[in-house]
């Protein structure tokens, strides 16, 4: 039995079919007999989520804060699970943890972000970060993060991810204490007397020529260069068939890059409509934007993973990482294809020098270290603690 060190971080995974058992197994591995302050749970919607959370609770004790999200695949040192669970746990006197959850109202998604950010209140540690676990299907990811940023300001970095429900696009869930919420934002304000590092990288590149979004509404694109958006996607991918065939057999996720000062702001399209010839993803695509279709090869994506981990570790003032939370875009998983995910996990293990990590495949990532925008797509965001 380990004593309780000043700061510690552990990770665990389980593929057990029984939800309570899976939660308990992963949590037990993560805490390793220590008393955690916070437990982060990433689980598939295939599980009985309340049962899974009770399983976790039984292991971690009554005082630990539980937060987390449902996924499109769970990540950890052991590799990828689909339909499984991954748990990260941290504790020790060096960490302070506050949490807050807020419901997302359709009329004011920003308010939810701002409310979740209130978890930072009263946190006075030397190093702070706000970790957000958000519903992935509200259609307003940017507003949620803007709401959080407007409350937090530029002094505290933001990280996190938008939840997924495997590939159903129906409903995602957030974990907050013993509750399983939906359409919510959960904020984990983490304070530490040790350094915190954040890494952000993707591995996609533009396919010329760019196009103008000539008609869009929210996350729906109707016209690209005045041509029905679905027609454009099918033509440029040399695909003949319906929207469903395209998104399920051709390109499961079609990345789109918006022209930005330092490159692209990426959106992922995951569905289309044969009738209206429109396509959509999970985030706003502003009318008037200049966009590129994006592509990647496996090596570029793997290099991105290495870079994200290396960047996060580089910010730990030379200290060895205790552990890492990873928010990896589901679009990357699709891009990596069969076998590539195992390679990505191997790359991450190497880059993190064997430090424990847990994470999930998201429908959108959050990272704001500089500048003001915090929503990413097709990106691996890593949060390293030392």
């Amino acid at each position: 039995m380990l004593s309780n060190p000043h700061r510690w971080f552990g990770a665990g995974q389980s593929s057990a079919a029984d939800s309570a058992k899976a939660g308990a197994e992963a949590a037990a591995e993560a805490i390793g007999g220590r008393v955690p302050k916070a437990v982060v749970v990433f689980a598939s919607v295939a599980h009985d989520l309340p049962a899974l959370i009770s399983g976790v609770r039984a292991e971690v004790g009554p005082d630990a804060a539980i937060v987390g999200s449902t996924t499109m695949g769970e990540l950890g040192n052991g590799g990828l699970t689909v339909g499984g669970v991954a748990v990260a746990a941290l504790g020790g006197d060096g960490f302070t943890v506050h949490t807050r959850a807020a419901h997302i109202h359709e009329s004011d998604p920003r308010a939810a972000g701002a409310a979740a950010a209130e978890s930072l209140r009263g946190l006075h540690d030397d190093h702070k970060v706000l970790v957000l676990f958000c519903d992935g299907l509200t259609g307003h990811p940017h507003d949620i993060v803007r709401g959080a940023y407007s409350s937090v300001g530029a002094t505290v970095p933001l990280v996190g991810g938008f939840g997924a429900d495997d590939r159903r696009f129906e409903r995602t869930y957030q974990f907050y204490g013993d509750e399983v919420l939906t359409n919510s934002v959960v904020g984990l304000a983490l304070g530490s007397d040790g350094p915190i590092g954040i890494g952000v990288a993707h591995g996609w590149r533009r396919i010329e020529p760019p196009m103008i979004v000539t008609k869009s509404q929210g996350a729906h694109i109707f016209l690209l260069d005045d041509e029905p958006a679905l027609d454009v996607l099918l033509r440029r991918n040399n695909f003949e068939g319906t929207a469903d065939e395209f998104f399920h057999q051709g390109r499961q996720l079609q990345p789109l890059g918006l022209s930005r000062r330092n490159g692209e702001d990426i959106r992922v399209l995951h569905a289309g409509d044969d009738e209206s010839r429109s396509v959509w993803g999970t985030a706003d695509i502003p009318q008037g934007a200049l966009v590129w279709l994006m592509e990647a090869d496996r090596q570029a994506l793997l290099d991105g993973a290495t870079w994200s981990c290396t960047e996060a570790l580089a910010r730990l003032d030379g200290l060895a990482p205790l552990g890492v939370l990873a928010f990896d875009c589901a679009g990357r998983r699709v891009g990596l294809m069969e076998g590539g995910v195992d390679e990505e996990v191997a790359v991450m293990r190497d880059a993190l020098h064997g430090a424990p990590f847990a994470g999930f495949y998201t429908s959108g990532e959050i990272a704001r270290v500089r500048g003001a925008s915090g929503v990413h797509h097709l990106t691996l965001v890593t949060l390293a603690l030392a």
Partner: protein, 727 residues
Amino acid sequence: MMNWSTHLLTEFFTAVNAAEDEQTAISNAVERATEMVEAEVGAVVREGKVLGAYGFGPAVPEAGLLAVATGDCLLEVAGLGELHAAPNPLGGEQADALIVARLNEPFGPEERQMLQGMAQVLGLALRSIRVLAAERHLRAEKEQQATSAQTRQRLVESLLTIQRAISARRPLPEILDAVTSGACELLDGVKVALLLAEGGPDRRLSVASTSGGTDGEPQPEGAARAAMASGTVVIRPDATGTVIAAPVRVTGEMAGCLVAHLSGSVDQYTEQRDQMDAFAQQVSLALTDAKTVEAVREAHHDPVTGLPNRALFLKILNRVLSSRGTSADPTSVLFIDLDRFKAVNDSLGHEAGDQLLALVARRLRGCVRASDTTARLGGDEFAALLHDSPMEAATIVGERVVSAIKEPFRVAGREIFIGASVGIAISREDAEKSETLLHNADVAMYRAKKDGPGRVLVYEPYMHVEALDHLSLRGDLQRALREGEFRLQYQPLIRLGDGMPTGVEALIRWHSPTRGFVSPVDFIPIAEEFGLIVDIGQWVLETSALQVARWRREFPDLGLNVNVSGHQLMHPRFSDTVLRALAIAGLPSSAVTLELTESVLMSEPDLGKAALGTLRGLGVQLSIDDFGTGYSSLAYLRELPVDELKIDRAFIARAELTGEDLALVRTIVELAQILGLRTVAEGIENAAQLEALRRLGCGYGQGYHLCRPTDAEELPSRLLTQLVEYR
């Protein structure tokens, strides 16, 4: 590379215009602007209050933001430190501004321009929201709202059209037409013109595109100039209504004006004024984007050589001049002009030309100290700024430059020989202007060049007078051509074997009513420089062809030699114009020999090959003038359809030819014989020379000893005399 900022402005526009109340418009604007330039914080200052503060967290530095609105460019933010701030006026009367601030990196000119555009858009939206709110109380509420919303929608749509034209890389004129027709549509079909300032000191305004209205309406240039001078939108009455003029900038610099002419009175058009202003901002960005190539030029470095450009050079020079401690440490400016560069560029192509310029730049850098500045002023002109360099030191550097450039360059797989002329100006007074200094160096360079290539000269005030003269000479030349001040003299070519005149060379003469007699040596280079040579050359050809055709009735075998400049040869219709002139005159092409200088042919071996080939095919003959003075190459003698070599007078100029002279001439003559070419010796001035040349086997000759250049009316009698003497 596409310009990211232009596209963001349209996104921004859409986001801000979607807002229905002021608060939403402000927070949308602040958030988008902050994100788009990757700033950390942003806010709006309006009527003395801070609104929409973003990214500050709980503690908003209100005093700091108000200070930024009035011009501070640093903003202290608790927990972050000092940020670079950019205040962007919302338009209107007060110091209202959209502010963004960023850690680490100040805002570049392009970002500032985009932010200015965003602020204008926000200002416009806020004013129209306020107008709407006020008008809600009026009966016409519904109708007005609909119109205003429609107008805004139309604005968005036409901006999208322009955007598409830019992103699809349509040609610039098409983009400009999209701009004016968009503005015209927005203003219900009134006449809209886009006036762009041309380069040069007087910045003439030219109409780049128009839409709407009828052609007869006057060009409101006055309003355009006022808007450009003030940098703000101008609305004023004119004879038939109202003119709105909104300035257009390119990369931050005033480039022109978008002008609309409306039929009503000034007070009706407040909204239209704002719309034109917002539209002009968009145009500014569109032009900045579409003119990427020119933008590179306007940036501070020359893309070909990587050297500072003229603007940056002048800036540096200004700084050096103003920071100079005393007049005792002189600053020197070298103006370097390449000789024969144009020929390389025209014959080997621009790519080779650019390569050559890059190599020249490298050599130039090697000629000066690391602390000195070299720059490319444009074309084949370079400059160097030497710190603490008195005249002697600067002259040494100038000579070093000349000899460095004289060494052959290897470009496109061949050796290229060019040269450089250098003018030097040295600052004498404390308060010398950078432009003046550079101009003086230019004048000195011009003077140096006049004395022949490869010279270095230091500026003296008298040169200025000469330079002025040079400029006025251009005007005089134009007039001379127009008013018929040129005339021709003819100098016979004599067959040395029997003294028989076989042809005449047409020689141009200019007696200027103001200048008196001006030698071709002085005015031909200027005619070439200003592009007048093509017209002058054509006149010479037409006139002499008619003349010789007339003489041939009496002297049936008489040939005509005409000098042709490289500029004429490059003219795409050169062969056509020659043939046309001969046809009109009724002179057979076989009677005509075109004389080209060796340097033209040598430096531009591919130049006009096709034209020469065509002419040769039709029987026109080709002669190489001044043979032996250039960089003789046997290769082109084989490649080009040459019929005749004229041995330069320099080889036979001595009253008594030395053994060396004779050896050279003999070589040329033998060479010509091997290749089956005629040889003509120029400048034969005495009997000894004539005898020597005859003995060497030179076929033909020209010179005062044989026959002076003669006016047309006297020539027949001269020819007869010659024939009589021969007999």
